[in-house]
Symmetry: none
Subunit: 229 residues, 2 copies
């Protein structure tokens, strides 16, 4: 299967680069545009499979761009990016037809997860549930549910994202810096102590119902989740 083509439309170069780098690494084929006009040009040159679109662009807003794109016959789903405080009025009517939105500042892992969720839903008509099955831990992404050896666990949003990141990268040590960069919002500026805290929270919830410690510490390096012992 060819690489999925993603078009990133955002006027802030920082965000654009952050997304481009991160998504390229995640295996996507990336194109970027800094405003609505460029976006319209870009889609005609190479039709993307999905579009990441900032709702507030210098030349036009999300609705106008969407309209122009749709008018050019583009049917690719759109993941809208909005500022936290835009979220009441600006997004209504956006999550139609497989589209979705994400508020800035987001976490990189969340962007990838959303893209995959959208593509899954739009590609296959009747989407089978998206399940990450990694041995002892099974995550149902549609229902946002986690089970350990068959038993359900209730997790807070951050605990969920952290565990998902660990489980999606099994048998690999992830440094605290990597975890911070992927799981926390990109403008988070506390220290890595928070990762330790949340690993602790997870262990407190997971280990009592598991037959073995699930998240292991690699001292001086980071944390690892192993599919089997």
């Amino acid at each position: 299967m060819a690489k999925t083509r993603v078009l990133i439309v955002d006027d802030e170069p920082n965000i654009r680069d952050l997304l481009a780098t991160s998504l390229r690494f995640a295996g996507f084929d990336i194109q970027t545009a800094a405003n609505g006009a460029q976006a319209v040009t870009a889609v005609t040159e190479s039709e993307p499979d999905i579009i990441l679109l900032d709702v507030m662009l210098p030349d036009m807003n999300g609705f106008s761009v969407t309209k122009k794109l749709r008018a050019s016959g583009i049917q690719a789903p759109i993941l809208f990016l909005t500022a936290r405080d835009d979220t009441e009025d600006k997004i209504t009517g956006l999550t139609v037809g497989g589209d979705d939105y994400l508020t800035k500042p987001f976490s990189l892992d969340e962007v990838v997860a959303r893209i995959q969720a959208i593509l899954r839903r739009t590609k296959t008509a009747d989407a089978e549930p998206s399940i990450i099955d990694a041995g002892a831990i099974v995550i149902n992404q549609d229902a946002h549910e986690v089970s350990v050896e068959g038993k359900n666990v209730e997790l807070s949003p951050t605990e969920y994202k952290l565990l998902r990141f660990l489980v999606m990268n099994p048998d690999r040590v992830l440094t605290k810096a990597q975890i911070l960069d992927h799981v926390w919002e990109y403008d988070f500026n506390g220290d890595m102590g928070i990762v330790e805290s949340y690993v602790s929270y997870l262990r407190k919830k997971l280990d009592p119902i598991s037959s073995r410690p699930l998240i292991q510490t690699k001292r001086g390096v980071g944390y690892i989740y192993k599919k089997q012992d």
Copy 2:
């Protein structure tokens, strides 16, 4: 089974796009026309299974278009779209046969439901009632009746639509934005607090007669209805 072909006839590009995107995602094969003349041309090219027709078009009214379509031998049922303040006389006489009408602004979920209702009625001669059977909750769409574990519940129109949307997407978290975009009329521009209010109303009616909480909150994500626990 091949995809159902829907022809959308409306002069407002916004509405056309909204409908096209939404219905395409719902699994229909979409064609569009901006006026009566285009509509007549379109139906001859590819015979639609159902037509969504705005009653007030720039070049001719609903009666004329219908007459022309019928004259070309098209028997597909028509779902008329009318403005809220259009008086009764604009509609009377139109909804003969399997036809029906819907007032603007409508909700997207409602459009899909109506289309399916019409197709059900016109396709199978002896219409068996359309029942959504999702575990504890059973919805009879023809009778607009809801039962929880066999017991009947009276719901207001909005409560009904909200519950239907949740029940038609079981075991999947639906965000407040998705719910707002599908269940509420497309021009609604209040905030998502209303979804919370209506979930609260539903719970007050459903939970007392149910053996388990039916609508669960996924904090930071949305709401979910699970077929079984």
